[in-house]
């Protein structure tokens, strides 16, 4: 789903444009450093394919159709950042020439369809492709990545619309996510069936995912899955006390608990969001990002395995 013009507030449109421009600038920088840059005609042809693929609607339910989005598919073929450039081209053509997605909403659409599909989806795909060896991983990875990327994009669109003051986040987020589960299933299935045909005849074309099996992408995939669990699953977890708290209450020493350090958000509750699902979700996301940043900083400081002195 593309956001049309007129539905994002000026601050949200400006912020998402800035985010989209920054992601394109980063993609161009990464590509410039690449020793083997992809020719522009190949990326242009892939963009034309994704555009054409989005025009072929499949009937899903009576009165409802779905189509390929293609972000994870493009990333599997040419890598996540080139995939982002491909999606930026597709969205620019759709927005300007066919009124499909707004000009002011270009940044939001790029982050939701390109960023979520090509970068987050690719990260999950690379993780799965690393776990599943051989050509099976080249198909299974993008299938799961496309599903995750579509849901990430839907969540992003919901949050952008809520931040623009159109709908309350508590209402629009569950609606968007539940509506997008069947769409994500269709996207995953279409990505998988297209890639199965490609891998059968020309597995060498799936260059992005083959090189993405090593390097940082699988680690980023773990982070994406951890963020999804923290943001969407953790707030709906059981509110009953855990084993230690339960035993402490039963034996009567629960009141002896003293905080050695004044935590800013005790009990995963943010003061300005109150004691609800949203508070737990934001606290979970911040905590996951903080833990990931700390782990990344420590591994950089300590050095990667095998970085020791060599003879």
């Amino acid at each position: 789903m593309h956001i049309p013009d007129g539905f994002l507030s000026a601050p949200v449109a400006a912020a998402t444009w800035a985010g989209g421009a920054a992601s394109i600038a980063w993609a161009l920088r990464v590509e410039k450093r690449d020793a083997d840059p992809a020719p522009a005609p190949t990326l242009g042809a892939l963009a034309a394919f994704v555009f054409a693929g989005q025009l072929v609607n499949l009937p899903v339910l009576p009165g409802t159709s779905g189509h390929l989005v293609g972000g994870t598919l493009a990333a599997a073929l040419v890598g996540p950042w080139r995939g982002l450039l491909v999606m930026a081209t597709v969205l620019a053509v759709q927005s300007l020439m066919f009124q499909d997605g707004g000009v002011t909403a270009f940044g939001a659409n790029l982050l939701a369809l390109g960023g979520a599909g090509a970068v987050c989806g690719f990260a999950v795909a690379a993780l799965v492709a690393r776990l599943v060896p051989g050509v099976r991983g080249l198909v299974a990875g993008p299938v799961i990545g496309a599903f995750a990327g579509t849901l990430c994009g839907a969540a992003f669109i919901a949050l952008a619309l809520a931040a623009s003051g159109l709908y309350p986040a508590r209402a629009v987020l569950p609606v968007m996510l539940s509506f997008h589960v069947p769409i994500a299933l269709v996207e995953a299935a279409l990505t998988g069936t297209v890639l199965a045909t490609v891998v059968r005849w020309r597995p060498d074309i799936v260059r992005g995912l083959q090189s993405g099996r090593s390097g940082r992408a699988p680690a980023l995939g773990v982070l994406v899955l951890a963020l999804a669990v923290a943001g969407f699953v953790a707030p709906r977890a059981s509110s009953l006390p855990d084993a230690l708290t339960s035993v402490a209450a039963r034996l009567g020493f629960a009141g002896a608990e003293r905080a050695a350090w004044p935590a800013p958000w005790p009990g995963y509750t943010l003061p300005w969001l109150g004691d609800g699902h949203a508070s737990t979700a934001v606290a979970g996301l911040v905590g996951t990002l903080a833990a990931a940043t700390l782990a990344w900083a420590l591994t950089r400081k300590l050095g990667a395995p095998g970085d020791g002195p060599r003879a």
Binding site: A40, L43, F49, V56, P59, V60, L85, Y167, V194, W201
Partner: protein, 218 residues
């Protein structure tokens, strides 16, 4: 499609036209629409009116007709209504109809002026405009390659779909996914995979040909 993709290389100062069109679209898209219960300012209505008039005039001047213009607006209307109506329902009572009307007019005005700018410029004028606005050359190259390949790609996809429909007389090109999930999805996979392979192999062949002629493709 081929009409929409027809080049209008003769359009002068494409960068200025593109910048002006995008600026008017952005202005129309972010003009206040009274979402927080306040009344819609008169200035917003004037901006939307100006954008609608400019968009329609630009379309007509570029050779479009009124029925074509109406079709463009009608195509967009369902998407706009899906987003506008729920937002209007949660607006304060008594402000729902104005909020819905303002959202719909705002979305249509901004979309129309952006689309008319691109229609007036044509694909190659659009690429020239993007270059004139100082966009990174790499992006402009990919955009140009995508636009050049788009018409051929759509024709190829249409021909493949037609051939598929001719072979599968039971129920057109595709069955309902829920009725025949495996056959429909694997059919789409074979179609999409074949189209993708043809596309990328054609791009590889073009690249080899240009390399053979000594072109720098990076």
């Amino acid at each position: 499609m081929s009409r929409a993709l027809a080049t209008r290389a003769g359009v002068r100062r494409p960068g200025l036209r593109l910048a002006a069109g995008l600026a008017l679209a952005a202005l129309a898209a972010v003009a206040p629409a009274g979402l927080r219960g306040e009344s819609v300012p008169l200035a917003s209505w004037l901006v939307w009116l100006a954008a609608l008039a400019a968009g329609a005039a630009s379309f007509l001047r570029a050779g479009s007709t009124l029925p074509q213009l109406a079709r463009r607006v009608a195509w967009l209307l369902p998407f706009v209504l899906v987003l506008a109506l729920p937002a209007a329902l949660i607006a304060p009572a008594g402000r729902r109809a104005p909020a819905a009307a303002a959202l719909v007019v705002r979305a249509l005005a901004a979309s129309l002026v952006a689309a008319s700018t691109a229609f007036r410029l044509g694909p190659l004028g659009l690429v020239r405009g993007v270059r004139a606005l100082g966009a990174p050359e790499r992006l402009a190259e990919v955009l140009e390659a995508a636009l050049v390949g788009l018409a051929a790609m759509l024709d190829r996809a249409r021909a493949m779909l037609r051939a598929r429909e001719a072979r599968r007389t039971g129920h057109g090109a595709w069955a309902l996914v829920l009725r025949e999930p495996v056959a429909t999805l694997s059919g789409f996979g074979r179609f999409g995979g074949a189209l993708l392979l043809r596309t990328l192999e054609r791009a590889e062949a073009q690249q080899r040909a240009r390399l053979a002629r000594g072109a720098d493709l990076t």
